[in-house]
């Protein structure tokens, strides 16, 4: 898994590439935790380049989403495609988090 962080207006954008599985998802959680500790309230996760996600990855989103909620922030997800979109739909996660088609739409 490759993580790339950038700033877009008030939001921090994390681009996740390759895989989010049981082995790699702790890295994603740690990175999000770091941003939240630094005071970020609005996180946008760009999954356009993510090709694989399992339930372990989905649970990481729940952890990060709850942490942000506690601090009054929010988690937005964008660019779902392929298997990742299929998994989000199957697990009902498209109704938990706001989903956007593009980074631009998510950071507005």
């Amino acid at each position: 898994m490759k993580l790339t962080c950038s700033k877009s207006g008030a939001a921090s954008v994390i681009k996740v590439e390759d895989r989010m599985d049981a082995q790699s998802c702790p890295d994603f959680e740690k990175e999000c935790q770091r941003l939240i500790q630094e005071g970020e309230k609005q996180l946008v996760v760009d999954l356009g380049a993510l090709r694989y996600i399992s339930s372990a990855g989905l649970r990481a989103f729940l952890v990060v989403g709850n942490r942000l909620k506690e601090t009054g922030g929010s988690l937005r997800i964008c660019c779902l495609d392929g298997l990742v979109k299929q998994v989000f739909l199957a697990a009902g996660f498209t109704s938990i988090f706001p989903i956007f088609d593009s980074v631009e739409a998510a950071t507005k």
Partner: protein, 501 residues
Amino acid sequence: MLVNTNETVELTLPNQLSYLPVAQAVVREAARNCGFADATLSEIELGVEEAVTNIMKHAYDIEENPTFDIVCKRLPEGLQIILREKGIPFDPKLIPHYKPEEMDLESSSAGMGFHLMKSMMDDVQLVNLGPGGKETRLLKLFKDTSRAGKAGGPATPVVAEPKVIEEKIAYDVRLMAENEAIEVSKCAFKSHGYSFFDDHIYFPERLVELNQNGTMISAVAVTKNNVFMGHAALLYQHPEDRIPELTFVFVNVEYRGQGAFNRLNEFLMKTPKKRECTGIYAYAVANHTFTQKTMARYGINDCGILLATSPRTWKFKGIPGDPTQRISVILAFRYMDTPKPITIYAPAHHQEMIAKLYKNLGATPVWGTAASTPAPLPESAPEILTEINESESCAEIYVKRYGKDVVREVHKQLRRFCIQQIACTNLFLNLEDPATQAMTAEFEKLGFFFAGILPCGRIGDTLILQYLNNVDLSYEKISAYSEMAKELLEYIRVHDPNASL
């Protein structure tokens, strides 16, 4: 890695998360070989990750460091993946029912992994095997139903059996050269896989050594261009043997029908031997009659039937057989010279059959009669030799010399073999020893029953009795070719204490 509809990939992995990518990679490649599209490979990979992490999290305590097995089995309709572990018992009914439509941030995610597993696969079963542990069985079907029932996906190499060469070709039969030993091993593998009962055959260097020291005489059939066709050998099983076994007879499939089997036998009969050779014996499997016919053609005649000596899993590539029960063998023998007159002390109740068997071999022994009151056995301990072939689940007991406690000693050895779950035990008694006449009935009381004779055996002319350790055997499935073998088989059936049960 995968070849046809029977293809299976199996691996055992430590129960550690760091091995998850290994599990996924293997399953992914197995699925790819079946012809699944890339998008489906990811679904399968996800189903496997959920199953593997479920085992890692829930099947074992943290302190344990066990393993689990993954089996990928190609089916006509798709791919089955079985994850097998021996972790803590578990009731699948207790898996929380995951409801995606009711999910929100505060909801528990319990049951989500199992839900995704079911979403990605076409069937998921959690099977409790009792003391055998548990299995998670995943099934992914081909979406393209036209592939169902056909062997081989797009990326699957299908290995074809070599074609039999129909026209008659010229070839030579001669002694094996050292550099041909590897061809003999390969030929054995092609004929029997790794199931052949004597593993010498899979070690070329051993074949060379056995030939060099005179324990074995290997003959090969080769084309005029020196292409290896087949092999047969005479092998002395024990240092004291006077008769070698005709064995290791294999002919590559493409050269079957050329008469190589016959010419190899003929060559071996005529080849000068470094060791004494009063006769030749051979075992011909009784799940088909092909070998029996060839033996008969060369005067190697039937003298015994040993029941259930080999596992039913023995492979005979290119030759039909019955894989439903342990394999029995016909024992056959041929004197190399006119047999010397010998006195045989046959037990009275088997003398008629023993006489028929000797006659079938062309011998006319003198029938010895022990005194009406048998002489007491020597006070000394009996001399008993035993051999066990674990891969065959077969054992042999030779009574080389009788002694006072011989029945007890044989019983002790038999019990040892039974405890080891050895399927069949053959008992060899010296027919040249007057004590055999009376003692045979004592051994039969232990459950041994008639099998046949073997002249010039390790301990002399031999009466063979056999014992079956709860072997499920149908006499109807045993193929006997000669009239003698048919009569002997019926004789054995009548005397087999298990046959009437």
